[in-house]
Amino acid sequence: MREKAFITQEIGSIQRPAWRQKLDAKPLPEWIAEAIFWGERLGVKEKSELANPKKTGLLQKSARTPAEKQRIIDIASLYVIRMFESAGLDRVFNGEQPRTEMYDFLAKNTRGISTAGVLNSFDANYFKKGVIDSAVGVLPSGVAFFEEEFSFVKKNTGKVVKPCLTGPYTMADWSYIEHYRKLREGGGAGPLDALMAGRHDAILAFSKDVLNPIVQGLGRMGASVIQIDEPAAATREGESEVFTQALNLSFEGLPGGVEKAVHLCYSNYSALFPALAECKADSYLVEFTNHASPVNFKPDQVSPETFKIIELFKEYSMDVDVGVGVVDIHSDLIETPQVIRDRLLYAAKLIGDPTRVQVNPDCGLRTRQWHIAYAKLLNMVEGAALARAVVGD
């Protein structure tokens, strides 16, 4: 049973404020001012734990204990939950505030991976890339972390909670898969065959032994929707079948009624078909808006590739919901509610049923400052309401 047409949600990450990110540094006055500003704006009552007139706040101390640092992380999660609630989203999570980065964090909770070193992500942002030196498997502490993270959000909101996890294909693609390549090389495979077969082995191992135990745990905790993020999908030919197989393995064993969501972005979606038709996911949250105009929407000026995935879902008779990315996470320009409405109505027309259309940003909003992210989410919710009014929902 769908909640309503055009349900709104974020994708995952929200930028971690400096006061959350640099727990070991002495907070600068501007970090404290930012925490107070957003605490007041979002109505976060715990803001006084961060800073208060008596100067006893966690950010006003010269040093913090591990428990105090954890409390700062929890409060950062509360800030984001309130941001999503006050923006009016139907589904919320924590903006990944307790996590470091989408790859790095899951890698740290996986046995068989060690850190190879630091690589540049973009501008002055870096991430730690892992090398798989033995068979991967989620650590028990990793499963516990995701369950506690979900539980924390559920306890602190009345909204639908949508946890997100980096998918098996992306985790394997972004790791050095040395262990799995060596196994294949040891079996006599040449360099390219060892690479490709090793990739398949690593992808399936991540799905079976890392993602699935976490997904199962979240299912037991009562999650009604679980999202797997696959930004690396669809970039290598010949891997759509293993990609689909990995998603199905990741979701295996979930009770009926739990929505199995997949996030895709910035990929050649056509390359996923026809294999994706065999995927058991219920919804696909896809980037549609990157580089489009923030102020107008003209269907005749839309690249045919942009909405092609909807045609492919129909062509392969896939009974799925489509989360339409209606705000560009790569730009500070704020999409108007009207253009968001028009994008949604266009997607609804293509799909043929507005209740099958969900609403989301193109991807996680961590690339944008909070005031930009919040403004985009506010307009996204307003645009969805305008679209709902048009279709009479």
Binding site: A18, K22, Y103, A116, G117, V118, L119, N120, S121, F122, D123, A124, N125, Y126, F127, K129, V131, D173, W174, Y176, E178, R181, P191, L192, L195, P231, A232, T235, R236, E237, G238, C265, Y266, S267, N268, N290, H291, D328, H330, S331, D332, T367
Partner: protein, 326 residues
């Protein structure tokens, strides 16, 4: 140079793209971003990286400083060349939106072209250090077209032509700074069409013609592509050599009259290739491919996707190969 003794066919080693930054440089970079250090700290760390990269390239045919001060392969062009939009936003946002570099967990800023691309003669060369016998890595004309947002040109042939002319305008100063070779990187070919028949894009050979024969050697490298499919794109081009990704290439299908860059060191792998395995790959190529020309050896791709220490080890593995018979 030691490599020259190898039946006079191996011309030495070269890198195939930018190199990653050290942990120290990354820390300095973040400190600059966070207002805790000045840009001089970052520049000092970059210089230290550059010295290590250069000194690791013993027996190399052409030498690179790693271009690790370039925030991405497009950035100095987008910063400097007229024709690119300068957005009314602060900092690096003014270049363009953060955009994923193919399937990787790295990104670049995608600039928008709003006018004719042209050069005053020092935008590219000014972003490269003086280096003896140097090699400069630039996007090839096709990938350049695919990775920018084009709001000006009616067709890619025109855009590729003007891009090439802008590069040519920088060649004189590059020569004065010690550069002897330009390596065009064409990642889009491999990432977009890894197993299909590859067509030569309209206007591509003409764009290459504009740069070739202008005093610097010109090579085209196809990372992530099956070289057997990529080489025919430039078989008739007036270029000095073609780079193939030895990891993704079916050697038995390679047939070419061109000289090659044989990318046998895996830029997507953490493990360091041993001399024996590299020699085996060269021998396998020589026995399987229909090829009688000369070749460079190098990585299959940029060494930007392996940590700095690993990148240095891989460069040294190539250097060491020059000390022994192939």
């Amino acid at each position: 140079m030691a490599f020259a003794n190898h039946e006079n066919r191996c011309m030495g080693a070269i890198l195939a793209g930018p190199v990653s930054r050290s942990d120290k440089t990354a820390a300095a970079h973040r400190a600059v971003r966070d207002g805790q250090a000045g840009i001089a700290e970052f520049e000092k760390a970059i210089e230290s990286d550059r010295i290590q990269i250069v000194s690791s390239q013993k027996n190399f045919a052409f030498v690179s400083g790693g271009q690790s001060d370039w925030l991405d392969i497009m950035r100095p062009l987008a910063h400097g060349l007229p024709g690119f939009e300068k957005r009314q936003t602060s900092g690096e946002d003014s270049i363009g939106p953060v955009t994923r570099w193919f399937s990787t967990n790295t990104f670049y800023r995608k600039p928008t072209i709003i006018g004719q691309i042209r050069s005053l003669g020092n935008e590219i060369s000014g972003a490269l250090p003086e280096i003896q016998n140097g090699i400069a890595f630039l996007l090839g004309p096709y990938s350049f077209c695919r990775l920018v947002e084009n709001s000006h040109y009616k067709n890619n042939a025109e855009l590729m032509g003007d891009y090439s002319k802008a590069i040519v305008a920088n060649l004189a100063q590059l020569g004065r700074k010690g550069y002897k070779c330009i390596l065009f990187l064409e990642p889009c070919i491999g990432y977009e069409q890894p197993s299909k028949k590859l067509e030569t894009p309209a206007g591509y050979l003409e764009a290459l013609d504009i740069v070739s024969g202008k005093g610097l050697k010109l090579g085209i490298h196809f990372p992530q592509a099956n070289g057997a499919l990529a080489i025919p794109i430039v078989e008739d081009a007036r270029i000095d050599f073609v780079g193939i990704d030895g990891i993704h290439t079916d050697f038995s299908k390679v047939s070419t009259r061109k000289d090659l860059l044989l990318g046998i060191v895996d830029g997507g792998r953490a493990g360091i290739e041993g001399a024996d395995s590299l020699k085996n790959e060269i021998a396998r190529f020589q026995s399987e491919a229909q090829f009688s020309g000369r070749y460079y050896i190098g990585p299959n791709d940029r060494l930007f996707d392996v940590p700095f220490g690993i990148a240095l080890e891989k460069i040294r593995a190539l250097s060491a190969l020059g000390e022994q018979p192939l």
